[in-house]
Symmetry: none
């Protein structure tokens, strides 16, 4: 159905135009629908909400990540994670000016910023679910930290590109992924092989303290007293 898709595109384009011209809060859905040549009802039917008009490709991207991770074999999991993240990066790079317009909007409109963050969390969730399935329940925290790190690294590079701080986002992305491998690679590999993490045995109410090892006994005693008071 090409007609439907072009109507959607017209609405998205009209929304971005009007937001840039008059600001987000000052633009009404009626104005967007009117410029796109559609009814207000159609806008909500196809975009869902005024905020969602800023992130029209979100579902496509999540589906792509999901598909790439689901297609991974035990031997290609690390590659799958990196490629899934790079797929998202490539998408935004291909958007070009549109991605930068979105960045300007999300930086100035708190509601859009919150919406974007929630969308990012959706990416994280997909990475986390797959990683957790690969690493087992006993490594749930590592899976969560790892998934978080991948999305963080992606965002880090993307943000630098959006701000015009780099001309080589792909190279920086590869460097970031290598840095993640250096940080977390061995731990993830070990977890993947089935190593289990033994929790602290807590026999009827014990307190566990972690202190920097350079503290003197007196300093440590002070810290303990302060922590327990």
């Amino acid at each position: 159905m090409p007609a439907t898709s072009t109507a959607r595109d017209r609405m998205v384009a009209a929304a971005y135009e009007l937001f840039e011209e008059n600001g987000y809060d000052e633009t009404t859905v009626d104005q967007i629908a009117e410029r796109a040549g559609v009814g207000r009802t159609t806008f909500f039917r196809m975009l869902g909400s005024k905020e969602a008009a800023i992130f029209p490709e979100h579902d496509v991207l999540t589906a792509r990540i999901e598909a790439r991770l689901a297609a991974a074999t035990p031997r290609t999991r690390q590659l799958a994670i990196f490629e899934a993240a790079r797929t998202v990066l490539d998408h935004y790079l291909a958007e070009g000016e549109l991605a930068q317009a979105r960045y300007r909007l999300t930086r100035t409109v708190p509601a859009l910023r919150a919406r974007e963050i929630a969308g990012m969390q959706r990416y994280q969730q997909i990475f986390r679910e797959h990683l957790a399935g690969w690493l087992g329940e006993e490594n749930a925290l590592l899976a969560e930290v790892g998934a978080n790190a991948v999305v963080t690294a992606h965002n880090h590079v993307l943000r630098r590109w959006l701000r015009g701080l780099t001309e080589e986002p792909h190279a920086e992305f590869e460097a970031a992924m290598e840095q993640l491998t250096a940080l977390l690679g061995t731990a993830v590999r070990q977890a993947g092989e089935g190593a289990s993490f033994a929790a602290t045995p807590a026999a009827g109410g014990s307190v566990v303290l972690v202190l920097p090892s350079e503290l003197s006994p007196e300093q440590a005693a002070d810290a303990v007293r302060a922590a327990l008071s």
Copy 2:
């Protein structure tokens, strides 16, 4: 002004009650204001929005994190990060049933979920800014991943407690922080040295102590001093 604060408390309590009784979408701001014995205008003046009524302590917590991190010296930065995170954890644990009611709401109402995530991102931002300042601009990615990891670990433990999966959230939190230290500690320390970060000289970096919880702070301090001497 105690009267103002109690009015705020009444509104928050009324909001939680009504959300539990009738659901979030089915509850109107008028109903909340009426039950709290206050005008609708006052609700928006003091809470800001219907969603914000669910997270009334958010500003206090961010201020606490900020203060704890700002008070860190180069020698106590790692401790400051852990304590700042534990401050947040303690706050939610102290809330008890209220925190669990909030969890039920955020799990069922997408708008509240998004709001909560945005709030968590605010925590991450504070950690990231401080870590980035400590580690220098060239380690921005590591700072971001590290800040992310701390918040993730905190959320991981908190979520397990909210789901009733653990009776020892403090012990699990300490274990999680220890795991983070094992994962990222050396990298952070190395980065910190490039930015005049005097870190733990010994390998490992932390000492883990397990004490019976019935000890008084003084007794615990004595035991620690004796153990380290």
